[in-house]
Amino acid sequence: MNAQLIQPDVSFIREVRAAGGSDLKKCFQCATCSVVCDLSPDDAPFPRKQMIAAQWGLKDQLLCDPAIWLCHNCGSCTTQCPRGARPGDVMAALRQLAIRNFAFPGFMGRLVANPKALPVLFLVPALVLLAIILWVPKGPATPELEFANLFPVVAVEALFFTVSTLAAIAFLVGVIRYLKALRMCCPGILLNFPPVSAEIVTHERFAQCNTNQGVRWGHFLVLWGFLGLASVGTTIGIGTMAGILRTPLPWGSALKILANVCAAGVLTGAVILIRERTVNQARRAASTYFDWLFLGTLTAVVFTGILLQFFRLAQVAYLMYPVYFVHLVLTLALLLYAPYSKFAHLAYRTVAMASTEPWKPKRKPRRLSEQGAKHCVDFYS
């Protein structure tokens, strides 16, 4: 076999260290991490190999490695590591760098990852919304206090559709870039989604991490609550734009009830996750700006959303409108930065898991080159 030319990417090593993998160089390759990991498959164990690849700055090899997404960050490896190299943190840092690397447009990836840019991240949606308040003509004021009195419904919905579309495009480009990278590393790799969908429904892999039970249910509630809210939001958006629905919806409507149940779910899940990240020592040490940005924004969106309802019910203008403004700023930020924040794992992890699910094709996969396949086997084993 031809020797693989290795040229360490020095800046990548520094990026991994800056992104939370600061202890990465301490690893001396004993493979305790791979042994204690409940998720690490026998035929392609991780994270031992990812550790040395990261130490050596093998950027291309790592970013296309599905294994970094198979880790659910339970922290067993970090707790058990005899050298204090914190492999769990390194894996998280690698995921963060993968998101940044595949980001479209690229500067957005760097912006979202940069703590110094935090004010800008929220200033932009705030200014857009302020512009709408100032310059978009409103309808006649209603007798009861309503949100439409602050923002015209049409303008808000149009804005959200635009942002969602932008996010969707960014996601699409990111995933395509990721797939390209995957194919470079492992030509002929195939995606098998059905088992992954089952996994998403049950969170079975989370259950396999026996140190991760709290996170399993937290993540379950947040994910399903969020998907519920997203679909309610989309339905209402389409409904109002088409003139079928009019907000505010009556309290007893099915959509309203579903929205509130989902919001409660997300909030409960988020509280569990925040608790995990603050009470659990190992996890607290492992939490980075990147983790908190996403979890914080998401929690704040739901929390302000629930708060809004009460203020609207109480008809307190000076509380209701500012909170609504904040809620919209946060929601916009959440959507706009989804492809660049930790949110993006939704897409990348799904693809990575699909690429590693065993697939038994009836015929030979079309693009499988022999050398590539061999490289893949070498790489994963």
């Binding site: 031809n2 020095v10 520094r14 160089k25 001396f28 390759q29 130490q55 050596w56």
Partner: protein
């Protein structure tokens, strides 16, 4: 001297519960006709010891036989040459070997104790008082090698009040350590190399009033023996002869010859250098490619270059990994952005130096992987292309670097005509297969096979400079012990304090040279005819010469062929119809005998048909004893000694191995006598294997019973 024997039997520690001590006393009084025999319940107490002392003072007794515990315990109470027993003392072990390991009040147990007492009395009757040799002993030490080990040894000796002669082949002292840019971390937190060498010690040694330094020197000849070595030292100025008492050999190491490593690129390109070359380059101040003088922006270190490799040095030198980590810091000082690759078999950073490894590893631009360098060649861009197989990254990887450094290991400078001993067995220290002086690294470091000559530092075992300094200190202490013991006419390790000496009845010597060849310590020189010329101060009193001599002319005043033969004769061998087989066990008293004591402490049971005779070393076994035993009707003979071979545990290096070799001859003799050769068995036993002894003894007894009685019984 008219022997006046006194037998003292202790009934304490459960001996009285197990044995009828009054009946045992009759063995002494009735059978052996010894008038003085006393039984005491607590012989090692003030009263018991006092009784013995009083009898000696009154002149009623001048040779004492104590039947009590093992001779290995209570040595502070029952001492020869001390007030309690100024002349002769024989101890009979009826506690560990009888009372504690056999059925109480049993007939066989009683017979065992009676035999041991008979044997003890027989030996005591033959023993003669010891007369230590005394000659004028020089207490000056010679230290060979002026590196960190030698300088530390000379200083330690001088500070302890002993004169030292320090001989160095280079024009100045300091050795390899003085040429280093930096040394390995020597103090907490062990993360940074230590800046200094050891100039203070070198200066102190140079100007010390008790140290005489010879530089640019070599030793032409070393004659004599401990306490009186005559060493001829040649310097460009003069040839001097000095008399010293002991020698510390601190000749250090040389790097492994890298020209034997073309597969790692040495010689292929000038940019492939050794770690010693690299150290020199760094000391000179600029780390650059030898080929074009350009600074090295990427350097690859090949660990175990020719080490832990069966075709080169099969051992680990224990310092090369640290040297490489240190070299990585040199590179960093010069160019913080340089890439450093380290390809290792295993990173070995003994002790607290693990912290140095951690510190170096933590640098983002140090790249480490396990792997085997498979080729070093030129890359098109002028760099070196290094392929590494079986790495942690992939099956085979290629790296492009400016400089390759081979971390070569240490070769001891031991047998290159350094001491030029005038010994019959040759001018050099006997070495092990890798050239390190033959000594036991766990049980007796520093000891070599030349008494009074102690190896220290990298010549003894690969080690770093701090350990080498400690080693110098340790060897200096051993050398001081050696001259002090010599001054008292006493043996050194492992029979430290022994004042017995072998004497040779030369009229009967046939010049067969077995003793001069077999002595592991080269104590015996020869004249032209081959007659042995003993050098008593070289002797370690193991008795291997006694075992070797076919004419049986070698004897000690308290250990001889005749003494052991009389002990064998003292054993009562029951008639064939009694069905009580007897087995004689010759046991090495260094490991096997204490192991049997431990079996006694543990109350392990074994067949009471055995009779144990301790030997100074299994190598002191004279084969006539086996003939004596078998001709007396003893049914079998066991020999239990230390392990031999590459990882030998024999305290006298080759004793048990020599005994094993002699057994081959004996077995032929047995076959001629039509005795089964299985009646003789040699077993190797480690001191911690006491648990195996009952099984070993019982198994042999079982086989003897199956074989049937010795046909020579009763003849």
């Amino acid at each position: 001297m008219v022997k006046k024997l006194g037998v003292y039997i202790c009934s304490g520690c459960g001996i009285g519960d197990s044995l009828d001590t009054e009946k045992l006393a009759k063995v002494a009084t009735r059978e052996s006709k010894i008038p003085l025999c006393k039984v005491h319940p607590f012989l090692c107490g003030a009263e018991g010891a006092g009784i013995i002392r009083k009898d000696l003072a009154d002149g009623a007794v001048n040779t004492v036989v104590i039947a009590a515990c093992s001779p290995r315990v209570k040595t502070d109470v029952f001492v020869t040459g001390q007030e309690a027993c100024p002349t002769l003392l024989e101890r009979v072990n009826i506690r560990e070997h009888v009372a504690w390991s056999h059925t109480a009040k049993d007939e066989d147990t009683g017979m065992l104790a009676a035999d041991y007492l008979r044997m003890g009395i027989a030996k005591a009757r033959k023993c003669e008082p010891l007369e230590p040799v005394s000659e004028t002993i020089s207490k000056k030490l010679l230290v060979v090698g002026g590196g960190i080990t030698g300088v530390t040894a000379a200083l330690a000796a001088a500070e302890a009040g002993y004169e030292a002669v320090l001989v160095e082949k280079q024009p100045q002292l300091g050795g390899f350590v003085a040429t280093l840019k930096k040394r390995f971390p020597a103090a907490a937190p062990y993360a940074e190399p230590t800046a200094d060498g050891f100039p203070e010690q070198v200066q102190a040694a140079t100007y010390h009033s008790k140290i005489q330094v010879f530089t640019s020197a070599r030793i032409l000849k070393t004659a004599g023996q401990p306490g009186m070595f005559d060493v001829t030292i040649e310097t460009p100025a003069a040839t001097t002869e000095v008399r010293v008492g002991a020698i510390v050999m601190a000749t250090g190491w040389k790097p492994y010859d890298a020209s034997k490593l073309p597969h790692l690129g040495y010689g292929v390109s000038p940019d492939v250098i050794t770690n010693v070359d690299f150290e020199r380059m760094a000391s000179a101040g600029n780390i650059a490619r030898p080929s074009d003088g350009k600074p090295a922006a990427s350097v690859l270190f090949v660990q175990c270059a020719g080490s832990r490799d069966k075709d080169h040095l099969p051992y680990c030198s224990s310092v090369c990994c640290l040297a490489t980590l240190k070299h990585a810091t040199y590179i960093r000082e010069q160019n913080p952005e340089a890439l450093v690759y380290i390809v290792y078999k295993d990173m070995r950073t003994p002790g607290l130096h693990e912290r140095f490894y951690r510190a170096a590893q933590d640098h983002p631009l140090n790249f480490l992987t396990k792997g085997e360098v498979t080729s070093v060649g030129s890359a098109p861009d002028g760099k070196l292309a290094v392929t590494v197989g079986q790495t942690l990254i992939g099956e085979s990887i290629e790296l492009r670097v400016d400089l390759v450094v081979l971390a070569t290991g240490m070769v001891p400078v031991s047998a290159d005509g350094i001491l030029n001993l005038t010994y019959r067995q040759g001018p050099d220290l006997p070495v092990l297969k890798h050239g390190f002086p033959d000594s036991h690294f766990v049980c007796f470091p520093y000891e070599t096979r030349r008494t009074g000559i102690y190896a220290a530092g990298a010549v003894r075992a690969p080690m770093d400079s701090v350990r080498a300094g400690e080693d110098g200190l340790g060897a200096a202490m051993k050398a001081i012990q050696s001259v002090e013991l010599a001054a008292r006419g006493q043996a050194v390790h492992p029979r430290a304090g022994d004042t017995s000496f072998p004497s040779f009845f030369m009229q009967r010597c046939t010049q067969c040279k077995r003793c001069t060849e077999e002595c592991p310590f080269g104590a015996l020189d020869e004249d032209e005819k081959g007659t042995p010329k003993p050098n008593p101060y070289r002797c370690r009193r193991c008795g291997i010469c006694l075992g070797a001599c076919p004419e049986r002319i070698v004897s000690f005043k308290n250990y001889s062929v005749d003494m052991v033969a009389s002990m064998i004769k003292a054993i009562e061998v029951p008639e064939e119809d009694e069905e009580k087989p007897r087995v004689l066990v010759f046991m090495c008293e260094n490991d096997a005998y204490p192991a049997l004591d431990v079996a006694g402490f543990q109350r392990l049971r074994y067949d009471p048909g055995v009779r144990v005779i301790p030997l100074r070393c299994l190598g002191s076994l004279n084969i006539v004893w086996i003939a004596d035993a078998l001709s007396r009707g003893i049914d079998g003979v066991m020999l239990i000694g230390c392990k031999f071979g590459d990882d030998y545990q024999c305290h006298f290096i080759r004793g048990s191995e020599l005994a094993d070799r002699r057994m081959e001859n004996v077995k032929e003799t047995l076959q001629r006598l039509q005795l089964e050769s299985e009646r003789l068995e040699l077993t190797q036993l480690a001191i911690n294997e006491y648990g195996k002894l009952p099984e070993l003894i019982n198994g042999f007894m079982e086989r003897i019973r199956k074989m049937g009685p010795n046909p020579y019984k009763g003849l």
